[in-house]
């Protein structure tokens, strides 16, 4: 073999991006007197892996909920592909091309892996009452959706649990199924809320590998939240750090890692 050639899997992850896909600017969110987010802003490039990190209670999940439309920002704007979508409903946000997973897995426990992932296709089904009532159009629709879902099952290597009710699966696999459901929506932006929480090292590495593969194979922009800095720093292109609802740092992982404010937020005052 020509060993002098550069090997992609060993190069550092420094990638260049051009287009902005998501711009968050001056967002405020409060619950009564609690200020969850104060003047938070950042930009996400198309095709990157972007992480929001911070200690407990920093406002990470609030931020994700604002992006996915569950919470309304009291001030500030969110632009998607250059268009303002600050006040869009969760359903509209989903149709725009956002998909998410949840910190506490939100799957249909009694349904099989396959059916759970199929539910993700709902936003992609183009049908009406009439066509659903007829045999052939309904069948063709089902076949087309199933084909796509089988691609995801293959991608995530979960063939052996295709027919297993998800409630019977171990935690790490449930997380993977949830990722599958989000992928079934063919999202432009994938929002992952603590995808590695509660996992052992091996499961974390598996999940990190899948996140990288999704980004790589489908070019999906990934925005993920993590509490634990370890794995995230290895796979992210840019990182924003929140603490007490405020943005305290932004940059490539190496800059963020050495930032004094970040160290203070994680380790406390010295």
């Amino acid at each position: 073999m020509e060993t002098g050639a550069s090997q992609a899997h060993e190069t550092e992850r420094v990638r260049e991006f051009k287009e902005l896909i998501l711009e968050v600017d001056g967002v405020f969110v409060s619950f009564g007197g609690v200020k969850a987010l104060q003047d938070v802003g950042f930009s996400v490039y198309e095709g990157e892996i972007f992480s929001i990190i911070g200690p407990n209670g920093a406002g990470k999940t609030s931020m994700l909920n604002v992006i996915s439309g569950f919470y309304k920002a009291s001030a500030g704007t969110i632009k998607f592909e250059g268009v303002d979508r600050t006040s869009a409903s969760p359903e509209r946000v989903a149709r725009m091309g956002f998909a998410r997973t949840f910190q506490n897995i939100a799957l249909f426990k009694g349904m099989s892996t396959l059916d759970n992932i199929m539910t993700g296709r709902i936003v992609k089904v183009k049908s009406n009452f009439l066509s659903e009532a007829l045999y052939y159009p309904a069948r063709d629709q089902e076949v087309a959706q199933r084909e796509f879902v089988e691609g995801i099952i293959d991608f995530l290597e979960i063939q052996s649990i295709r027919k297993t009710p998800v409630g019977k699966l171990p935690y790490g696999l449930q997380k993977r199924v949830e990722l599958g459901r989000a992928l079934a929506m063919e999202p432009k932006i994938l929002l992952l809320d603590e995808p590695m929480a509660g996992m052992n090292l091996e499961e974390k590495e598996d999940m990190a590998r899948f996140v990288l593969d999704v980004n790589d194979e489908f070019g999906t922009t990934v925005v993920l939240i993590e509490h634990d800095m370890g794995v995230v720093m290895d796979i992210s292109d840019h990182v924003v750090v929140l603490d007490h609802g405020e943005r305290i740092a932004y940059g490539v992982p190496d800059e963020v890692r050495t930032n004094k404010d970040v160290i203070r937020a994680y380790l406390g005052e010295h």
Partner: protein, 649 residues
């Protein structure tokens, strides 16, 4: 036997399939949840393009093509493609770590590799510095491969495209190459996993394999209508003969499962008629069945227990078409409808006509369980060096503790030291680049030393006791056959692996590996809390359970005067599973006794002193190849031994 020179290599047989049975299914693979099928004429086209692609990359007569991956149609086609060009396929165990592959690739002078996916590519790239001869890597699954910029690393699809271009420019090249092949050429080099030392490359010619296969088809009346699963490592001679050679000669269809984890389910869908597996698979299936039955409702459990008793009483006689009383026959029929039928269906054995177990001795109880359900499982004694077949059990003439009678055209003799030796058309040519080992194993006139100790019983059936070098004696002269004891222990679903010691000792003692599935399930039902394998293995109630198993074995041993003295006196439960990554098992999961002796010396010493705890520190290898230390203090217990009792009556 003389082979027809028009049909004396696999590529020639394949071309002939296109004439005789072009539209019959040749191979299936489950992909994206659906069984995809290729007919023989489609396979011919695939192999043709692939071979031309290889030729375009410079693959020439005598070149070796390493094949690494799970059972995939494209990898099987890679074998036929290499053979079409007069090359030699060298399948490797797909779960080997990079260092193990390095040895085989260098030793076999491999220039080309056809691999399944990124995982295998990464392993090869890791060792490419140290494998100067390896030039080209082709991969089947493009996933994750987009950003690799390495010279001579190419996808299967682009190889096919090059092949099609090459073929349009050289339309007669391939036929001419195929015509050059003949029966005396090397067909394949199979590396034996080797219980000791480095693996050895067994050279088999087309003649070796084809004559053996033709005999086997005749012996078992196999036709193009068989259905067979290809799920065992492609590097294993069993898979090579059953999933490749026999399929090409008989023309039957081989099905590749979706993934290793879905084999059981895929088997249920295919319903194979012809099945091959090492005893371990049967053990695992039986364990799963027994564990699930313990979880079943009261009524189902009672029904299962009752009809299993019926099947034990008369199932085997019915299978072997012997006379059975009317009442038993009726009960068995009802059992078949209520229990055996559904059970066979779940296991994927509904249509099995012939199933073989080989590679190791199977526990008689396990063997009889399957036969009593009406599944025609038979034992086969074979070796890579013999193109598999040495002795085989004949239909309706099956004794559970023997390996049957010599296979057609095979001569078997027992040496003075009790070693089994054979001579057959399937006997290998030599070990690749290892004349010393060849001389040690094979005489000039073609007799092969198996290293197994055995004898023929009165009916002419071969009985294998153990490895010649492993059979030992206790200090009082009692025969000590470790395999025999270990197989007895492993029949208990709670015991996954056992290693016994006793040669030149005063008594026999044992290491036990618990079966995490079975014992874990038991712990759940008993509300026994545990956080890890290590903790579960050390649990006092688990110790008690295992001691009961051992004492039951001892009761059994006490019945036979020859071996009554080799009852197990002391034992301990290991804190980790014996693992091929640590070198403790071979890739086909046989225990490497010497390495275990070496790694666990301190524990063995403790077993032969009067302490009741043993201390062990060991290096272990994790799945990703990193290493770590594992330290444990293990309890040692005594088991009750019994006096030899003559059977009464």
């Amino acid at each position: 036997m003389k082979l027809d020179p028009k049909l004396d290599t696999f590529p020639k047989l394949l071309l002939n399939r296109k004439q005789t049975t072009p539209d019959r299914p040749a191979i299936r693979e489950k992909d994206f949840g659906i069984w995809q099928t290729w007919t023989w004429s489609q396979v011919v086209e695939e192999v043709r393009s692939l071979a031309c692609g290889l030729a375009a990359s410079g693959f020439r007569r005598g070149d070796k093509l390493a094949i690494i991956g799970d059972n995939r149609p494209r990898l099987y086609w890679g074998m036929a493609a290499a053979q079409s060009l007069g090359g030699i396929p060298v399948p490797l165990y797909q779960d080997s770590v990079a260092q193990e592959m390095e040895y085989v690739i260098n030793h076999a002078d491999v220039r080309f590799a056809l691999v399944e996916d990124q995982e295998q590519v990464d392993k090869l790239l890791e060792i490419s510095n140290r494998c100067p001869k390896l030039e080209f890597i082709f991969y089947d699954d493009p996933r994750g491969m987009r950003h690799y910029s390495v010279d001579h690393l190419e996808s299967y699809d682009s190889l096919i495209q090059e092949g099609q271009k090459f073929e349009s420019e050289n339309p007669t090249y391939l036929e001419a190459e195929i015509d050059k092949g003949n029966a005396r050429d090397i067909s394949v080099i199979l590396y034996t996993s080797g219980t000791t030392g480095y693996p050895k490359g067994v050279i088999l010619t087309y003649e070796n394999i084809l004559i053996t296969v033709i005999n086997s088809l005749d012996f078992d009346k196999l036709t193009e209508k068989e259905e067979c699963m290809a799920y065992l490592p492609m590097a294993w001679v069993g898979d090579h003969i059953f999933s490749y050679a026999q399929s090409y000669v008989a023309g039957f269809c081989v099905s590749c499962p979706e993934s290793g984890a879905t084999v059981m389910h895929d088997m249920q869908e295919i319903g194979p008629t012809y099945f091959f597996s090492p005893p371990r698979i049967f053990e695992n299936i039986l364990t799963t069945v027994l564990v699930r039955m313990e979880d079943a409702s009261w009524f189902k459990r009672k029904m299962f227990d009752y009809f299993i008793r019926v099947s034990k009483r008369c199932g085997i006689q019915i299978l072997q078409k012997e006379s059975v009383g009317l009442i038993d026959r009726l009960l068995y029929l009802i059992g078949d409808i209520l229990v055996f039928g559904p059970l066979k269906n779940t296991m994927g054995f509904s249509k099995v006509r012939i199933a073989y177990t080989a590679g190791e001795a199977i526990g008689p109880e396990i063997f009889e369980f399957f036969r009593s359900l009406g599944i025609n499982v038979k034992q086969l004694y074979g070796q890579t060096e013999a193109s598999v077949y040495i002795t085989v059990q004949k239909d309706n003439d099956v004794k559970p503790d023997t390996c049957g009678i010599p296979f057609p055209d095979v001569e078997v003799r027992i040496s003075e030291a009790g070693e089994v030796q054979y001579k057959s058309p399937g006997v290998f040519q030599s070990y690749y680049k290892n004349p010393e080992a060849t001389l040690e194993t094979r005489t000039g006139d073609g007799w092969v030393f198996t290293g197994d100790a055995g004898y023929f019983d009165d009916a002419g059936h071969l009985k294998i006791i153990d490895r010649v070098k492993d059979v030992g004696r206790l200090n009082d002269g009692t025969l000590f056959a470790p395999k025999f004891l270990e197989n007895k222990l492993k029949f208990f679903p709670q015991i996954r692996e056992a290693v016994t010691f006793g040669d030149n000792q005063d008594h026999v003692s044992a290491f036990i590996n618990i079966d995490l599935e079975a014992v874990g399930n038991w712990a759940e039902r008993k509300n026994v809390a545990y956080a890890s394998y290590q903790e579960l293995a050390a649990h006092p109630e688990v110790y008690e359970m295992i001691r009961n198993c051992i004492e039951q074995t001892n009761t059994d041993l006490a019945k036979d005067s020859e071996i009554a003295g080799s009852q197990i006196k002391r034992f301990l439960i290991l804190h980790k599973e014996l693992d091929a990554d640590d070198g403790e098992l071979t890739r086909t999961r046989k225990v490497r006794r010497r390495i275990v002796l070496d790694r666990y010396g301190s524990l063995i010493d403790a077993l032969y002193s009067d302490v009741n705890r043993g201390h062990i520190e060991n290096e272990v290898t994790f799945e990703d190849g990193r290493k770590g230390m594992m330290i444990a203090d293990l309890e040692i217990q005594n088991a009750q031994v019994f006096d030899h009792m003559k059977k009464t009556g």
